[in-house]
């Protein structure tokens, strides 16, 4: 997202071929030279994508909000009934899955930000040292990010399966009476899924930090080591502070990932007890037998509010910075 990353990274193949072209704000654009036909072309070029995006993403998001205050069986618009805050009341007080789901989404974020994110940073710092085979290592750590989450779910099931899985076979817990049910046991399954999620997240964070590190001015490092700072001091006092833009991106990406978490859990156990998530509750409400549109929308609104609380400040800060540039 941040232009810092894409302008500084020599990795980015995506740099305009022409060199010196800083973003200069041109006061009027080309508008004054346009013919009538040009104006029509332009309005189509901007209009068609905007209409499609707004209709399918924003109108539906707003519809989620509106429907959250209604009860509707989905048959005919006449049957939409305004019920005020009933759906929310029921959700907050009456749904045994709701608060666990909120808790699990929070745990998801906390685990991702505390374990794979620092580890990804650590790997990036090591791989940035101009060492041999750096590419090979990077490929290994990054592979889980490329493979779909559905495949990841199936692969980890082979590791966790109580009868045939790698872990239980190794520790001898695959005999009746000794079973450790990594996927079914509600005390264990969230952590089992989170290991798989962290496995993937580490590589993602590593790549983001590698791009950030490429943008760190080498002379800073040199100056610091000339001053007699050791590696850790250099990292703490010189490198890490300059990674601030990357850290912001990483924080936002991690929050969004935690809110979006779905595929892995759905493949593992469809969000059975122990692994409930907000995204799973919404989906099960749609594909389940007793689909309640208003109620499902109320859960979606909770997710929407949390997401926008993160997205909007972040984007405003980003765009403000860009405008100044």
């Amino acid at each position: 997202m941040t232009t810092d990353i894409n302008t500084k990274s020599p990795e980015a193949a995506a740099m305009p071929p022409s060199g010196p072209a800083p973003v200069k704000r041109v006061p009027r654009g080309h508008k004054r030279l346009l013919t009538r036909r040009d104006r029509i072309t332009l309005s189509f070029m901007a209009g068609v994508p905007t209409v499609l995006h707004v209709l399918l993403v924003w109108v539906t998001a707003l519809a989620s909000i509106a429907l959250a205050f209604t009860s509707w069986d989905g048959i005919g618009f006449d049957s939409i009934k305004w019920v005020g805050l009933d759906n929310f009341k029921q959700l907050f007080t009456d749904n045994p899955q709701f608060w666990p789901a909120v808790e699990h989404n929070i745990i998801w974020f906390v685990v991702l930000i505390l374990i794979p994110t620092p580890f990804g940073l650590f790997l990036a710092v090591q791989l940035d040292k101009n060492i041999r085979f750096s590419r090979v290592y990077q490929t290994a750590f990054f592979l889980p990010v490329v493979v779909s989450l559905a495949v990841t779910g199936f692969v980890w099931q082979l590791v966790y399966n109580p009868d045939t899985g790698l872990i239980n076979s190794l520790i001898g817990a695959n005999k009746p009476g000794h079973y450790i049910d990594w996927i079914g046991d509600p005390k264990l399954n969230l952590w089992a899924v989170l290991i798989a999620a962290s496995w993937r997240h580490t590589g993602y964070m590593m790549i983001l930090y590698l791009a950030g590190l490429k943008g760190v001015d080498p002379s800073l490092r040199e100056a610091s080591s000339l001053d007699g700072a050791n590696e850790w001091q250099t990292f703490k006092n010189v490198i890490f502070p300059t990674l601030r833009p990357t850290n912001t991106v990483v924080l936002v990406v991690t929050i969004i990932e935690a809110l979006r978490a779905f595929d892995l859990v759905f493949v593992f156990n469809k969000g059975a007890q122990g692994t409930e998530l907000l995204s799973i509750l919404i989906t099960n409400n749609i594909i389940g037998e007793s689909s309640r549109i208003g109620y499902g929308s109320a859960i979606a609104v909770v997710l929407l509010v949390i997401s926008l609380a993160v997205i909007i400040p972040y984007l405003i800060a980003t765009f403000r910075k860009e405008r100044r540039a």
């Binding site: 997202m1 072309t41 109108v59 539906t60 989450l149 559905a150 936002v252």
Partner: protein, 297 residues
Amino acid sequence: MSTLTAGAPAEQRTPLRPARILLHVFLAGTALAWLAPLLWAVFAALRPYSETSNKGYVSWPDKLTFDNFTNAFEQSDMLHYFGNTLIIAVPSVLITLLLSSMVAFYVSRFDFRLNIALLLVFTAGNLLPQQVIITPLYRLYLLIDLPGITMSGKLYDSALGLVLIHVAFQSGFCAFVLSNYMRMLPHELTEAALVDGASVWRMYWQIVLPLCKPAMAALGTLLSIWIYNDFFWAIVLISTGENMPITSALNNLSGQYFTDPNLVAAGALLTAIPTLIVYFVLQRQFVSGLTLGANKG
């Protein structure tokens, strides 16, 4: 690790130090641990079920064959699902690139007031969790009748429906990246064309787009993998198992055809092959796309 001296420029001159060897041991060990789940899946997929059920999965293999792969591929008619994915992914990627480059062209060249607002809408939309919009979207897809256009007669349960939501959702991200890119192209370029009387479309198609090739290649790679890997939209918006793209179909197939863990492993690995090929061939594009659009969740 504090024994390692920092400073990349000094690296070429210094001989291999113990600390450096230690680092290689650590990295190689970690990398191997990272690959372990995938290698475990490959190992399971290569062994006949009869052997593993007798000897257990952690045992020395007597026989390694590709039988599980061929069986998984044929029994489940996987080719059909790869076909479904192709029908969805190819138009999605192309249309997303076309539409988002048009928006980017407009906001970066013509309207600087609207620029920020429009990009804000697009980017924020792209960051939303998909589940936020799914309930009304699902209803909308059921309500839209398209007799004769899609097999199901509705937007629901059709490839067209999936293409539309992929395009709408992903174009936000692409528009943002491309508009940043286009703003770095010199303004005189298009100004001169306009003075010469070139139409807006020619300016876009013959001047700006060719210069954006690197960014388009990076985004195209990224989009192909994302759309191929998408699981959620098809799970909800497709009801007929036959119409599912491969990644989402995996869920049904694993219950129906992949009756033992070895077949599940083979089936899952087969679906990962196209992404792996794209990744290894276009690694540079993929990584640069990901980092230049680091906002993507």
